[in-house]
């Protein structure tokens, strides 16, 4: 099979790694503040996970769409993701009032990313083209934020003055966005979707570069090591662009661009992309070789299984935890009843139980070749 058509096992392993981190993070009953979502500026531990997934999604879309784009399939996927996202919002918040149903959400963000990435693949399927798209989107996002900041008190983006609050309220109305608009922004709103597209585009750039390398390897017979320099260059360029996205606004307006998840700023998106690409390179060197070895194959099998069912595990684990933690009509939450029987280290036991449970399910489904795809 030509190199460019082989499944990139490293991508599944990377997805699986992130899923372990995601399920474990989501299992924490009382996460320390440095790990919880940053309340505004800055980046905490848990802020890394979803953006890394979106970068990985960009890589995956780069591979999936490099030969052809099927608009009908993409539209169906987007519609299913969007509808599932609305349901996910209602269930996780246990709020089914149409008047306050939150429209943006994580799955809706995915839906938008899938549609836009598909459309942009009609325009270009080369790594140079995707590098240009990444640059254009990062510039656009930074311009929107920096130009808005100029009108804000002190030239500072705050929950009280930022484009997300204004635009998402204009698009969806305050009652249909995050915390009914009280937070002043929506962490999955329109502005954030644009930031997520920067992440996905950087991922797509890496994917198309890797594809180009693999095409060359097919003809020259070189090993996976051929990807080292190109992927390091993409990671380095992403990191460099991240630095520029901070500094250029500082040079122009005096205020450096914030590195933050809540508005998914370009420096944040690009830094995350750089890190994700480096992780991908690591797994690529280990797993995409011709002779991987049985021990390594066996050891990484659960990660690959998780990676093949990432949508199910990521959102399933969030949904399950949300339901287990919910207090229905005065009845204690199910998790509160489970907690005392989890032994002397209930948090550790609970985290291990969840990670093991979802991994077991993923392995079972992988063996049966059952994969949840919208």
């Amino acid at each position: 099979m030509p190199g460019s058509r082989r499944r990139l096992v490293s991508l599944d392993a990377l997805r699986g790694t992130m899923l372990v981190a995601s399920v474990a993070s989501n299992s924490l009953m009382h996460a320390p503040e440095w790990y919880e979502h940053a309340r505004w500026a800055g980046v905490h531990g848990i802020d890394l996970i979803f953006p890394m997934f979106v970068t990985i999604t960009g890589i995956g879309l780069g591979f999936a769409l490099h030969r052809r784009v099927a608009p009908g399939t993409l539209a169906r996927r987007a519609a299913v993701l969007f509808a599932a996202g609305l349901l996910y919002n209602a269930v996780t918040q246990w709020a089914f009032d149409l008047g306050t149903w939150r429209i943006p959400g994580v799955l809706q963000l995915y839906a938008a990313v899938v549609v836009v990435m598909g459309l942009l693949h009609l325009l270009t399927r080369s790594w140079i083209g995707w590098a240009a798209i990444t640059l254009v989107l990062a510039t656009a996002h930074t311009v929107i934020l920096a130009a808005t900041a100029v009108s804000c008190p002190g030239g500072l983006l705050t929950p009280a003055c930022n484009p997300s609050g204004a635009i998402d309220q204009a698009l969806f109305s305050a009652s249909h966005i995050y915390r009914q608009g009280a937070a002043g922004h929506d962490p999955e709103g329109a502005i954030v979707v644009l930031g997520a597209l920067v992440s996905a585009s950087a991922g797509a750039t890496a994917a198309h570069l890797l594809l180009a390398v693999r095409e060359r390897v097919d003809t020259t017979g070189r090993s996976v090591a051929a990807a080292v320099v190109p992927l390091l260059c993409v990671a380095g360029a992403s990191a460099g662009m991240s630095w520029l996205a901070i500094q250029v606004p500082a040079w122009v307006t005096g205020t450096p661009m914030l590195v933050m998840k809540r508005l998914w700023t370009a420096p944040f998106a690009l830094a995350i992309a750089a890190g994700t690409i480096l992780l991908l390179l690591g797994w690529h060197l280990l797993l995409d070789r011709v002779n991987t070895g049985r021990v390594l194959q066996g050891a990484t099998y659960p990660l690959l299984a998780l990676g093949r069912n990432s949508l199910l595990v990521y959102f399933g684990s969030h949904l399950l935890t949300s339901l287990l933690r919910r207090d229905f009509g005065g009845t204690p939450a199910l998790l509160d009843r489970i907690w005392p029987v989890l032994g002397p280290q209930p948090q550790l036991a609970w985290s291990l139980l969840l990670v093991a449970g979802w991994t077991a399910l993923a392995v079972l489904l992988h063996r049966k070749k059952v994969y949840l795809r919208p």
Binding site: G42, P153, G155, L156, T158, A160, A166, I167, G254
Partner: protein, 339 residues
Amino acid sequence: MTVPQAPGNQPSRHVTRALGWVALLVVVTLTCVGAVTVAAATATGTERILYALVPHPDDEFELWSFVEDDAATFPVFLVLTRGEQTQFCGRAFAKGWQPDLEPEPSTRPTGKWTGECRTARVDSLLSYMAGMSAEDPTIPGEFGTPRTVGPFPDEDGVTCRVNSASRTGPCEGARSAKVWEDVRGRGNVVFFDLGDGDLTEQEVTWALRTVRRHPEEFGIDPAMPEAGAVGAFASEHDGCFSYPHPDHVAVHRALANESFGLPFQAAATCADVSAGTVVRREVSQQAATSAFAVDADGTRTGAHTGSYGWLHEEYYPIDWDGQDELFTRPQWFWVRYTP
């Protein structure tokens, strides 16, 4: 339907592709313009309270870039002391006030820590504000009759003012404040009396919390959203103008260490300070000139040089380009986001 990959070598394909890129750039540009227009309209459409914390009545210009020419903010100047410890209220008065070049203070001070000194310094600030307001209509400068408000609760007993050079003697509680409201609703000036030279971080915290807990008493619409808080200059190192004045440091520490739950907390500092976020602002040429104008014959005609001229042997200088003076046109601030 499947759209296959194009060979990409026919001229028509090149044209289509080029048009695609043009379309992308147009869409992105329109998105940017639309987003910025909507966001800017919202940002400037809501008036928000900005707390400007200054330790002494003459420090306002250190944060002027945050307050000038902004109709969307309602500045509340929290002046934390009356500046009664200045040597220019005592023996140095004759050195400071030059009758032929600058206005006489409203009340002739009779010594440090005296009522006359307090009054003279308060009036100097009001004069400065009036002068700046004359050039910038967004600045509060036409004040009605002041009101005394308080005393306010001080559960932790942090407010204390000691009126002596040796920092000994009775500790006077200073839990009241005086409020000047702009008659055109452009902002307020609140004077606390927390002790020039012995201002503490806890007192600054208490003052800001007190104002936020009792907005109506301080002439603030309780329904008005808050923008943030910004403090006057301090610098504990020699990276720029070194100014480790303990009252200024107290303001910095309060804003840096206490989370007031405001959208941001900031304070003026050196450009090279090590902080998470440092922003550069610049006072407009017009405002800086309005504050620091001096005639060819040496007459202090600026709002700052004139109103505060008696507090300096000559007059306070401004650094127009750098940070070699206390008052500067380019201004840097560390920022802490604390929603």
